[in-house]
Symmetry: C2
Subunit: 323 residues, 2 copies
């Protein structure tokens, strides 16, 4: 059993229920669509987001069924945005398997994502809380705004604030939502809502920074996508920002600082090799650990329980993945 | 003042409020996106759908503000699906102006539609009714399912049942929703919900049949898109179905009955000229009138009022547009 599975032990049975709700939700009259969506759901990651909703509900003693709907809704919203992302990026592989985009026309891919949006909205409404639905719609608008800003600003930008805004929109906003909405459904206390919202957001920021580090240090087999993918897409992440700040004299840095992209495959390889030999990776990791620690601090004061320990362990695990 | 504007007199002031809610709703941090969406909203049709929600709420005596949110939500959902439709169809013009798709990359267009979905979901949640949100998400799934089925089934199909399913998914489902949700917010009586749901669905079916007739009989200036657009896209609508049933000996009919598309521009023109010289148009109009009459019958028994008269007049107007 992996260490993540161990951490999620208190909610493994619940995760299986969420899984079946997700599969039931994406059933469609159209067989081709139904089977494609079923495959997307089956191949879908480690369920960290639903696990966060479930763990928080157990810490706060929440209404079981509504949390299942919330958890399924969060994960399907995530899948929906990925389907459209892959189309926009022209990505052919995600999590080691072919994207919908690689198999279908652009039209069918757009519509499949739209269909997943409708499934996610339906499940959000099944929580019977319009506050949850509002938060969901706001999250989708944050995610989309982030992507559009990225499209319009163009590639190869080095601004640190912009980077944080981007990873908040891309990743942390949804982590925040799965934590916040769980607290909304379990408690009437705005302070409780705020502390779990902070937990979700901060570990979400940490999660994305680690993802960005892995794009330099990982290998294709573990990542399920090519190494250096971000650089190939003109996406300058934290490790590169730290590297350019600390090592202005290295081969490609002046070029990058002048606003240029690194496009040649061999140059990207050379840049990555040099970058990982510096302390840019360790420094990025430290930043991720600061986010994770802030997340832990915001929920530390809640009574100890198996599930509470899992939330702390999860925050630590996120910054301790195979680097 | 056009006759439609006359019919909608009792809700003109409310429509202006809905309009401002729509504009406020699509505001975004990103200026390019905000201005593009603002243009989409400004150029957006005759507001028949919001007007239906508003008129019904006045007949039933509903909660004003929630109906405004509902009406704005319906219309933005409609715009969102159009943005993705235009992308999928490669349409460059809608309502006489350039589509987003004609100006922007596919990626930006996908994301703009997604952003509109999030605005629509937020407004649906502002009605504070999860039943409304559920109905909205179901409607989106019906619309998308219809389009995906059309994509997978391929073009140039003559099946009458399939045609009705298609226009229900494409148009009548959203008419049904704007009527049904208004009734949901104004009354607790399931019989009331059902009668207005039927009204919305039936006049929605009539509306789309008339649209399909206009594709043969209209001109580009009035339509805001080229005549024969459906045939060019391999979309066989009611007039063509009636024509092929009644005139198996005409030039292109055997070809069509064998499952072929009419692709050549000159052939399409010739086919249209012949079709409009037959009774296929009148017969299609009769079918539309039957739908419209069923819609009227379902709400006939409600007390007479200015707004009730407008609902009846609207049902009649829909089948009496410039043909």
């Amino acid at each position: 059993m992996s260490s993540l599975n161990l951490i999620l032990t208190p909610v493994q049975k619940d995760l299986a229920i969420v899984e079946s709700i997700m599969h039931a939700s994406v059933k469609s009259q159209n067989e081709d669509l139904a089977s494609a969506l079923d495959q997307i759901i089956t191949s879908g990651g480690k369920r960290v987001r639903p696990a966060i909703s479930l763990l928080i509900s157990k810490v706060l003693g929440g209404p079981e069924e509504k949390i299942y709907f919330l958890a399924a809704s969060v994960e399907i919203l995530h899948s929906a945005t990925l389907v459209h992302d892959d189309l926009i990026d022209g990505a052919l592989i995600r999590r080691g398997i072919q994207t919908l985009n690689a198999k279908w026309s652009a039209g069918a891919t757009v519509l499949s994502g739209d269909y997943l949006f409708s499934c996610s909205a339906k499940l959000a409404a099944d929580t019977e809380s319009t506050r949850v639905v509002k938060r969901f719609s706001e999250t989708l608008s944050i995610i989309v705004n982030g992507e559009i800003t990225q499209l319009f600003h163009g590639p190869c930008r080095l601004d640190r604030d912009e980077y944080y805004q981007r990873i908040y929109a891309k990743t942390a906003s949804l982590f925040e939502t799965c934590a916040y909405c769980s607290a909304l459904l379990c408690s009437d206390d705005p302070k409780v809502h705020e502390s779990f919202k902070t937990y979700g957001r901060e570990i979400g920021m940490a999660f994305q920074i680690i993802d960005d580090i892995l794009d330099f240090t990982g290998d294709q087999a573990t990542l399920g996508k090519p190494v250096g993918n971000d650089l190939h897409q003109g996406l300058f992440t934290l490790p590169l920002q730290i590297y350019t700040e600390r090592y202005p004299d290295r081969k490609f840095v002046q070029d990058i600082l002048s606003g240029n992209c690194i496009e040649d495959n061999e140059n990207i390889k050379e840049l990555i090799t040099d970058l990982v030999s510096t302390d840019a990776i360790r420094e990025s990791l430290n930043v991720a650990k600061e986010f994770s620690a802030r997340g832990i601090r915001s929920i530390e004061s809640y009574p100890t329980s198996e599930e509470h320990t899992s939330l702390i362990d999860l925050a630590n695990f996120i910054v301790d993945r195979d680097l």
